[in-house]
Symmetry: D2
Subunit: 344 residues, 4 copies
């Protein structure tokens, strides 16, 4: 059984494990106040070409999302998300558990449209009873999105403009950020994200680390007291060094980007082969998540050798699945998959 | 200017004020532990033909909704509501502020359909990642709904069956309950509600009281410790007697139902006259809220003499408004309104 | 049975009821956006000699406390209170339910000492692990306190100075404010409070109204969006006019202060008579709450004719009780009480 | 500089790292639904001699504490803790952020006394206003405590009896559980804890793992839906296998207990040497945390070579510090420390 169902099915890149080994008996202060975290933060500042950002390391995506939004929002404020957004559907109401409504808008290819956000805000303030409704105060986007699609500079700048007009904080979930940066046609970059969003994160869990997300904060109000909030929500790892070590290793010399490119190239190979073989896709994704459509019978056969994520039923006889490649995917497994699919 | 924009534009029925006057210097214990509250609860038990219900008096609808749901739900649980539900749109995220997601379903004439609720629950438990999603644990309905429509026995029994199947609590918001009970074609009754829902409330604020909602609890788990939760959410009125006094007065001899009938009769007169005059309605409502559609020009003229609630734009030239009658509406005002509308 | 156990045992001053009657059929907008609320706010601005304050009307003390503190604090912030503070002991954890710790300090005669607050804050910032502890961000005081004592200008100015030093918001719970202003030796005033605190409230419930607290906000950050928070916490009364009407009536021509003086004079008469008769007091209170100490046997006898609040056991044979006078207390009842106590 | 300031200053026991290496490219499902987690849970069931327990793996102590208590408590309920309890002072109000008050009692040697808990509960229910106060619903104890002391069976059974009398859940924080089990005089055991508490955890972070706490649940109500709550609070590690792997390795053949004994033996050596040399201790601790008292001058000298945790000032010239040994402490470092201290 070969697993293509997710991009967090293995451990970590061997260099990460080697680094853990090397540093294992070095004694450091706890809670992220160690030299490895400082080093990783400094590398990230360099990559973002900004000294004016704060960097914090958290353990996972849900934790990052809830900590950022709990710190950013006042009780009566909500966050706008695509209806497919991870915080809207797959985090067991963690944002609501912090007291905030997720204001959903229909997605377009997994993405929020700036015009829809502007319309929601305008409608809010045009309504005589606006104080009876949750105040829109932040925008949450993921790039790559849940459907593998990526935002363009133009799209993010349009969202930024709406955020500026209506006083919204712009937050980008980058759990798979590297796979997005490696996507064909991508025009985003770390410096662009660091200067365009109020806060975003660089995902590690799905990109070669054992775990970890590096939260990058530009917004001054959000920077203040952020460590209190990390601690309060259970996100301050005692051995914070483990996070610093991993990000330093991934980002020091471009390993992170190499691994991302690897995964995307294999995904593009799958996409090209299936397209050529006449398969349709639920969506045109340029990243490591692909959503091909198979006949149910074929799926049953493939399921004997491969694990996919079931995505949705397309019609009476066909379903879409999610196939993920990752930093750890082996070329030979991709080749076998392609050849097995071609066989039908 | 005559106000038809809402059903809480005046004070209270004169008998309420008289009763406040009569009892003003009687000394009672505070916090709802007085003889008037006991009397009102006893009257409600009689009307519901049940000794097995607890009755609590709260000050308003949002307070009642949030107190009931905060007491009923565990942190990871959410409440299912029509997307037009008051808790979903017009309470500034009060349910989320208590930590819970409102799981919205499309409404049908302002109402939730049992089949939709069942589908949502089935989809939840069919999903392999169900623990990553908010657990559906309660159903919130309003009758009359935000659009003036009322549930039938059959509809509520169907919801009850789904609730039983999936372990959901059934909660009915009765802020305008009397107007629903007085609606042509209504087949609900207090005993039916008391034996079919887990909890519902009898609205006072919009039905002749200065303020107040009488929460009726049948569910044993919800009964337990409910007064703690009232206190915690700021809903325990020091002079709780004011609530007991009002409900006793309204319910002792049927005043509540007389006032409801009065409002509905006047609403039906407006509905009939407008229908006869060729006006369309946004929805076919049998209660005190009517949603006629006017040309914008005519609306401007009417707005010089009457206050309505703006509901929504219907097309380029026409809008729907909400016209409310209430216990306090005067026949002559209704007649004047009808004649002014007929004049175009 | 004559009740001296609390100051909210009757209805409202007859002028309040008369005013409700007079205005009963006037139609107004809901939710506090009516002319009566505006009038009352304007009267309060006049009494506070400040145009730079916002005034909101809430229904009770717990609601006022939780709404103010939920709006003021960020998730990791807490409020400092005397360990006898109402929010610390008698509101069923309502502040915690909004997510915030109440940081308790030992009281001195029911009051917080500025030096203790400064010490707590200094200790917080001196601790290397300060981010692992709740950040002190507000100070909650009541005047009169739970023990009937009042703050002096000097004491409040000292608290203000500490608040300024450590970035704390100063919040004064004035549920019995009038009784404090009428106390012998008092040097506080409404203009002083409005310019010294960030937010305080003028209690109505215990001071002649049916219910209601007038929240006065000077702090600009707290003013912003406060109505959203009122709505979210269930505190926005549909017929908000009822609150405006009552405060306008109480404050228009000094009725509030007359009623306060009445209660305090009767309390002072009780205090003088008991002192003369050799009774000790738990505390030296200059306001409407008195805490005399009685032998348990005598208490049992008195309990046949009078209701007191049991306060605490003093020694094996004696207990302290709370005796409250109020706007509604009758002189003849006080005289009878005094004479019965004198009889032993 | 040798660090004795905490027991989480290094990485993990080499066998843990070796195991990560070995299994690195094995593909598993995410979120704790893998064979390693199942294996670790099974080992723990064996050690606890109970098949009737659920085992969940979380990443740290604060996360474990808040997830358990948020799942256990209803909104109006609070948890009783010693005033030195970690949840009471060093988790930035994480329990309050979940809506619950921590009801503090004075500690005795860092421990809660059953009699104090009983007194608090009795006082609660004896108070006529009990619904105005937070309902005591759980007891939180740590063993070893913040002061290194351990509970005896007798003490825990006494707490259990009070919990049964008043309907409280008994929760034991075992962040340093192994060090307690290895303490001279200890009479606790895993089967005893699993049958006496409702829920407890076996700490990994401070006991040889990179991170991780194994939560053991006996209470049936708490078992239900617990994974929803883990997910909601951000505690469901994507690569949950990392937790299972570590606990399986630590517990499979007694490594956990060996490491605990190692740390406690070194701590006892320090304790004996200092006692012999005439040093006093803040408290008599039988575990890996020791709290000797030094003259401030001597502390300054020692601080040049050793890191301790500053605990508190004892008098004008002396302070207590915390010295921790751990699974990773080297004998030669302990010997050097002892000899340097002896030199004064």
């Amino acid at each position: 059984m070969i697993r293509f169902n997710c991009d967090y099915g293995e451990g970590a890149h061997p260099r990460i494990l080697a680094r853990l080994q090397e540093t294992n008996f070095v004694q450091t202060p706890g809670y992220g106040e160690d030299e490895y975290c400082r080093e990783a933060a400094q590398i990230i500042r360099g990559l973002c070409k900004s000294d004016d950002i704060d960097v914090h390391f958290l353990m996972g995506g849900t934790q990052a999302n809830l900590t950022v939004l709990a710190a950013a929002l006042r009780p009566w404020e909500g966050v706008i998300s695509a209806d497919t957004g991870h915080i809207a559907v797959h985090e067991t109401g963690s944002i609501e558990a912090c007291g905030h409504k997720v204001l959903c808008l229909p997605h377009e290819n997994g993405k929020l449209r700036a015009a829809d956000v502007a319309r929601l805000c305008k409608a809010h303030y045009d309504d005589a009873s606006f104080e009876h409704m949750v105040k829109p105060a932040a925008v949450y986007v993921s790039s790559p999105s849940e459907l593998g699609t990526v935002y363009s500079r133009e799209e993010l700048l349009a969202l930024r403009a709406v955020c500026d007009e209506y006083g919204l904080l712009l937050f980008l979930d980058g759990a798979r950020l590297g796979y997005g940066l490696a996507a064909p046609g991508n025009d985003l970059s770390l410096p662009f994200l660091a200067s365009t969003t109020d806060v975003f994160y660089i995902g590690g869990t799905k990109q070669g680390a054992l775990f970890g997300e590096a939260v990058v904060i530009r917004n001054a109000a959000l920077k203040r007291d952020f460590r209190y909030e990390i601690k309060q929500r259970g996100g301050m790892l005692a051995k914070g060094r483990l996070l610093g070590l991993q990000f330093a290793e991934l980002l020091r010399d471009g390993l992170y980007f190499d691994l991302s490119r690897h995964a995307v190239q294999l995904a593009m190979a799958i996409k090209a082969a299936l397209t050529e073989a006449g398969y349709a896709f639920l969506i045109d994704s340029p990243t490591n998540q692909q959503f091909p459509i198979f006949a149910d019978e074929q799926l049953s056969r493939l399921a004997q050798s491969y694990a996919f994520s079931y995505q949705c039923r397309v019609d009476e006889k066909r379903s879409a699945v999610r196939i993920c490649t990752s930093w750890a995917t082996r070329e030979e497994d991709v080749e076998r998959l392609i050849s097995d699919i071609r066989r039908g």
